[in-house]
Symmetry: C2
Subunit: 379 residues, 2 copies
């Protein structure tokens, strides 16, 4: 059992801010996570998130300022941990680029320069330590020790994303205040420390296996789209439920229309490296079907390579070449205001917990909808 | 919304028997599901299951008689639906057999005859209609219409196993009284109608997507190993939680010792066709690593082919060649009496629901372990 910092008040007051709805809007870099979405979610009692990925430190600071002008509620900001370069995989990128060239040309685009960057990691961490959001979360493994130190020194709790028990051990040892536990069902990039996860653990077994190695608070993510799913992970012991895809069609999200429309259909998802060089769950489309399953595991080089192609696809409304990030329950995502969704999810989750309790009460259930007094046994 | 037979009393009194613990011990053919295990589970308030697969109809009748002599509690019996022959895949079996021959020889075994059978389906259904267990469940898709008719005419509820919303539509249309909803996390064979499921849905999204297409009672299965997981699927709307791997190490299970020992380790699982020609989740081992990922999708031909090899591996205690069926949470399986496990799971699930409710109550939580009155708000 790796003991984390939770409750050890070394300058960090609380690992979890007060989130009455117990709902977190997952950070979704590349457009969907807007200031308006974070404000609406936090305003409804959830925890809104800004996504610092693919933005400059200055742009992040500007978003934080706009969010604070729009809402006084707590919010989080997500930052990418630097991903180590893998020369053997980077060496495969030129051959992959030749496969992509005709696809880019068909959209009138040219491929980008496949550079390896750290997404301006340190500068963003410094900015956020100064701005002090309620939480800073990281994806892509454990960040440099200095990033955790800088945030803790500023009193900012740090959440690390894990997709395996091994990740959880590493995250707790690195000083995480809470863990975002991302199941295999989740849309978008795999957020853990390894791009080649053995076991590909679904959310419920992952929560149970992570709980075995740490007592840190857990934020459950992956394939959640309704109040019953929220209730499920709270019953499984998570402190909060994080939903991403469920917010992609909300009015405040910055999701490309072609993406938002595609989510509503019943179609399978797949986990693929073809878009960015790192595994991510997306709707299966022409690109995932036609491009090789063994695309180079070179992130962010492949991301940079394909970015202009995907931007052209987005502009053209071409759902076949775009990275249509989607969790497995994407067909349940609704086009409603985000605040309405947060309130509805919280109410539905509460009702689901009550119903599950009632149906397990000592007296045999008399039928759906009947209510008893709940845990206290009050009639 | 496909309306099922639930509540329509056409000779079938109740789709679900009375299961106070809300726990079902999943049927596990090939040895683990013993009469003693079913008796212990049913005796503790769960629903025990016999596994008719790979047995003769006479042997099934004899097991039912022994179980009834041991326990008066309700139990279920699981039967395989006939799997259609796929000639193009069967044609690949001889080449696959050549890969297996040296492995069999190393264990002093010879390969079996790769015959296609229906596992004596109709005879088992007739026997079970006469013996009338509380439930007959099927895996491998929808059985012949006559099988459902015969059981319904005898007043036996029929549960069908689904791994996709499409399966759920087909199962409801075929007259299912309840659905066993098997998530991607589950150990052993994929139990749905297709061996090539698009989407590979985790249990929570699968429950949500199935609920969208049917109002039948749902039995949730896949990767559940503790009371919190049970609570989670009940909160997600399932009527019962079905656990298989969690029972594999119990005293009453007929699990091979080499299999039971392997489950306790932290090691990844994989979904593979190499053992039987049908996808199943197993601990990754020498066989899954060395045999081709595109093994023939020929079930049960490959099962029959490899059966003597696997029997020899079992006898020799060789964990490298044996099919070590395991759900993703296998490391949590405990070597305890099955009745103890059922009672503990039920109590832990109840506590998990209470805790989740308490933590979401209007007053901010004051700390772990504090209790309030529950849904009725009683202090």
């Amino acid at each position: 059992m790796v003991r984390g910092r939770a409750g050890m008040l070394g300058g960090v007051p609380l690992p979890l801010p007060d989130v009455p709805a117990r709902i977190v809007a997952a950070p979704m870099a590349g457009g969907p996570s807007t200031v308006a979405l974070a404000a609406a979610v936090s305003g409804a009692g959830g925890l809104g998130f800004l996504a610092a990925g693919y933005r400059t430190a200055d742009a992040v600071a500007e978003e934080v300022a706009r969010l604070r002008a729009a809402s006084a509620a707590p919010f989080g900001v997500n930052v990418f941990s630097p991903v180590p370069a893998v020369p053997a995989e980077a060496a495969r990128v030129p051959a992959y680029a030749r496969l992509l060239e005709p696809r880019a040309a068909a959209l009138g685009a040219r491929l980008g320069d496949p550079v390896h960057t750290d997404d301006d990691h340190a500068a963003k961490v410094e900015v956020l330590a100064a701005l002090r959001p309620a939480v800073v979360s990281f994806v892509f493994g454990v960040p440099p020790a200095r990033s955790v130190e800088v945030l803790h020194a500023a009193g900012v709790p740090v959440w690390l994303t894990v997709t395996s028990p091994e990740d959880a051990v590493a995250a707790a040892a690195a000083g995480a205040d809470a863990l975002v536990v991302q199941g295999w069902e989740a849309g978008g990039h795999r957020g853990g420390g390894s791009d080649a996860e053995p076991g590909e653990l679904g959310l419920l077994p992952l929560l149970a296996l992570v709980r075995r190695v740490t007592d840190l608070p857990l934020v459950a993510a992956g394939g959640l789209a309704d109040g019953r799913g929220v209730a499920a992970v709270l019953a499984a012991g998570a402190s909060l439920a994080q939903l991403g895809t469920a917010f992609l069609r909300t009015a405040e999200a910055g999701t490309a229309p072609v993406h938002a429309d595609a989510l509503a259909a019943d179609r399978p998802t797949t986990v693929t490296r073809v878009f960015t060089g790192r595994r991510a769950r997306a709707l299966a489309n022409r690109a995932t079907a036609e491009l090789p399953a063994d695309a180079p595991a070179a992130y962010p080089e492949v991301h940079a390579l394909t970015a202009p192609l995907r931007a052209a696809a987005r502009a053209a409304g071409d759902a076949g070449e775009l990275h249509l990030w989607a969790g497995q329950a994407h067909a349940l995502a609704e086009a409603v205001p985000a605040g309405t969704l947060v309130r509805r999810l919280a109410a539905e989750a509460r009702e689901a917990l009550r119903t599950a309790w009632d149906q397990g009460s000592e007296q045999p259930a008399q039928g759906v909808g009947q209510r008893r007094g709940g845990p206290a046994g009050q009639p």
